[in-house]
Amino acid sequence: MIKSTIEKSRKIHPLKLKTKQTLVAYSFLTIPLLFFLCIRIFPTLYSFSMSFSPQYGVGFTVENYQKLFKDHFFWQAVWNTLKYVIITVPIQMALGLLLALAIKRIQHFRWFYRMIYFLPYITSIVAVSWVWRLMFDPNTGFLNAFFGILHIPPQNWLSDPKEALLCISTVMIWQSMGFSMLIFMAGLEGIPKHLYEAAQIDGAGKGKMFWKITLPLLNPTIVFLAVTGVIQALQTFTQIQNLTAGSGSNAGGPLHCTISIVVYMYQNAFQDFNMQYASAVAVVLFIFILLVTLLQLRVLNKNIEY
């Protein structure tokens, strides 16, 4: 039936193949677009408007933002989140690059190493966090048992306010360095071999080749990893929730020393039922991510041509 109607319409208004294809493409795009509007855009706008509403009653207010700027815990969450970014992003990229370079040199079982280091990234964050949580346990955990053999005094790990943030960062680094490694490996493949050959003929050493050829030509890869890594670190939630919450205590402990902006937002929305205040936190986080990303693109995105 459809065929016949199409044929009829063709007789009346002959339609170019290209136009027809475009129309089909648009119709296919409409559905995801509708979905995107309902699931992403509308809630985002709704959250913006909610952040300017009072918790009880209706009307326009900037109360939520005023409270936010005076909120000691919010600033602690911001500071912690920055610490997560500063600690995890450079280290996971550096380790990823090291791994990529090491694997590039290996002749045999390259696939095996690639798989081993990439495995954490594709494992569920919740599962990974719980395994680490058990290893970090001060009394029954593997890490303290290992320290015992080496005669190092046991540590409190996640229950020590000075160590907890570093412990969580370690888990994050361990998990995402495999991803950096994979992207760096692809980046390394893209560097033309003849540059190295030419450098070798000119008598350049290994270190010089790395700093003058490899690193500059990896710039687009570095930009990509830095931007995605920073956004991911700014949005940290799952690891903190699973490593620190439970048995009656809230995520982000002990003493709020591991709380991140997203965890704080979540607690305001779903434990204190203050959706309006939580929306204000979300809006501030959105602005943070926007600014940081723009800044990174400006600073890191230099074109290097050889």
Binding site: I12, S247, L255, F270, Q271
Partner: protein, 436 residues
């Protein structure tokens, strides 16, 4: 061209209709149920996932539906950690249940958020409620109204591992009677390895579980302090006695080192694993401990300050309320279900299968319950039970546990932290009453 455009539009509309139909699925199903037999009413009941309660509610619903063939009750349960979020999200979206089961300490927040409607007068009036239930439930009277009714109440007692008592050279049939005895016994059962790591704890000292209730309603009262003013507005521990009680409690962990709050994740896991000698816990854990414990254990009443001294206990309960916005037939059905839940018969069955003690005052002198070696201590504790009037249970607990972390993890002084703790607790109450 025009026709193709129209066709495309039709396709899009058809798709969006399907999508919309998907969104409003739940409404459709209930209305189609209604058309089958005209008077059929479906109500939903939400509770958190506590296995014994979930299966008991299922049985009760079967019984209720047999008695009321025109009412269908759908019970849903969610993990404890997510329960409040689930309720918040559903209520804000207008997709909440008809009847909610909630911890009595959450009630002020639920009422403030407008999730609940007062118990209808034709179900039970305020004075009928007060004469039917034990006096403890007065803690859920808000602005002179009751919003929820419990099936059962709970009190605290000591669970102790008789095998561990024996191994440490203690008499397994004379558990500690005073707090000092508890500390002495616990010290004998605490074992650490050469590196100082805990291998077995004598007393599972904790804050987040039942520990802070034991402090507020047991220790403070035994040290001569009424923890909060009658109207719930004032924190009253700001005295030297309060500080003494607090110091005594903290020092069980800090000085006597009888246990650690996070040993084997939490106090009842440690006990079930046979690695904790004594814990403070509620009757609701009896079933779980009976299933898990592979050793001899017993229950006794909470310790006192000195022999013959004041006995005190913390009472608490989970309670059932009807959601705001439930009207007409659904409201009538919800009324009926709640009436069924609070009936004496249900309460008796609840004790047998869940382990919580009946909330109706008529059971207070039931000898078959109070003479039971396991339930007895809880029933005895119920006589001196106080249910704390929380304004924001989660916040109050969090404040308590963070302030104590300052002492235990950051080595801050007990007196200074005590003062900031009182200030914080008072602030939480001030904030609540200011907005109400």
């Amino acid at each position: 061209m025009k026709k193709t455009c129209i066709k495309l539009l039709l396709v899009i509309m058809a798709f969006s209709l399907v999508a919309l139909a998907g969104c409003s699925n739940s409404d459709n199903s209930s209305s189609s149920n209604g058309s089958k037999s005209k008077k059929q009413v479906t109500i939903t009941y939400w509770q958190y996932t506590f296995p014994a309660k979930v299966s008991e509610i299922k049985n009760l619903i079967q019984k209720f539906e047999a008695e009321n063939p025109n009412i269908t009750v759908v019970a849903q349960d969610f993990p404890y950690d997510q329960y409040n979020q689930k309720v918040a999200a559903a209520m804000h979206a207008g997709k909440g249940p008809d009847i909610l089961n909630l911890y009595y300490g959450w009630l002020p927040q639920y009422v403030k958020q407008n999730y609940l409607q007062p118990i209808p007068k034709d179900l039970l009036t305020t004075s009928e409620i007060e004469s039917y239930f034990v006096p403890m439930i007065k803690a859920s009277k808000i602005n002179g109204k009751y919003y929820t009714l419990p099936i059962a109440v709970r009190s605290l007692a000591l669970f102790y591992n008789k095998d561990m008592f024996k191994k440490a050279g203690l008499d397994p049939n004379s558990p500690p009677k005073t707090w000092n005895e508890l500390i002495q016994d616990a010290k004998k059962m605490t074992k650490r390895d050469a590196n100082g790591k805990l291998q077995q704890e004598g007393f599972a000292w904790d804050v987040n579980g039942q520990g802070y209730h034991a402090f507020e309603e047991v220790l403070l009262r035994q040290w001569g302090i009424e923890p909060f003013s009658k109207d719930g507005k004032k924190v009253q521990w700001n005295t030297s006695h309060g500080l003494n009680a607090f110091t005594y409690w903290i020092n069980m962990e800090k000085k006597e080192k009888v246990g650690e709050p996070n040993f084997l994740t939490d106090y009842n896991t440690a006990f079930k694993a046979g690695k904790a000698g004594i814990i403070i816990d509620g009757s609701f854990d009896i079933a779980a401990i009976r299933d898990a414990a592979k050793f001899n254990w017993g229950v006794t009443t909470l310790p006192v300050r000195e022999v013959g001294g004041l006995e005190s206990n913390f009472g608490s309960y989970w309670t059932n309320g009807i959601a705001k916005g439930v009207t007409g037939e659904k409201l009538a059905a919800s009324d009926k279900f709640i009436k069924f839940l609070i009936s004496a018969e249900t309460q008796k069955e609840w004790l047998k299968n869940v382990g919580e003690i009946p909330a109706a005052v008529s059971f207070a002198n039931d000898k078959t319950i109070s003479n039971d070696p396991i339930y007895g201590p809880f029933v005895q504790g119920l006589k001196n039970s106080h249910a704390t009037f929380f304004v924001d249970e989660a916040k109050e607990r969090d404040s308590m546990s963070s302030q104590i972390d300052k002492i235990l993890l950051n080595n801050e002084s007990i007196d200074k932290t005590f003062n900031s703790l009182i200030k914080e607790q008072q602030q939480i109450r001030d904030d609540y009453f200011q907005n109400n």
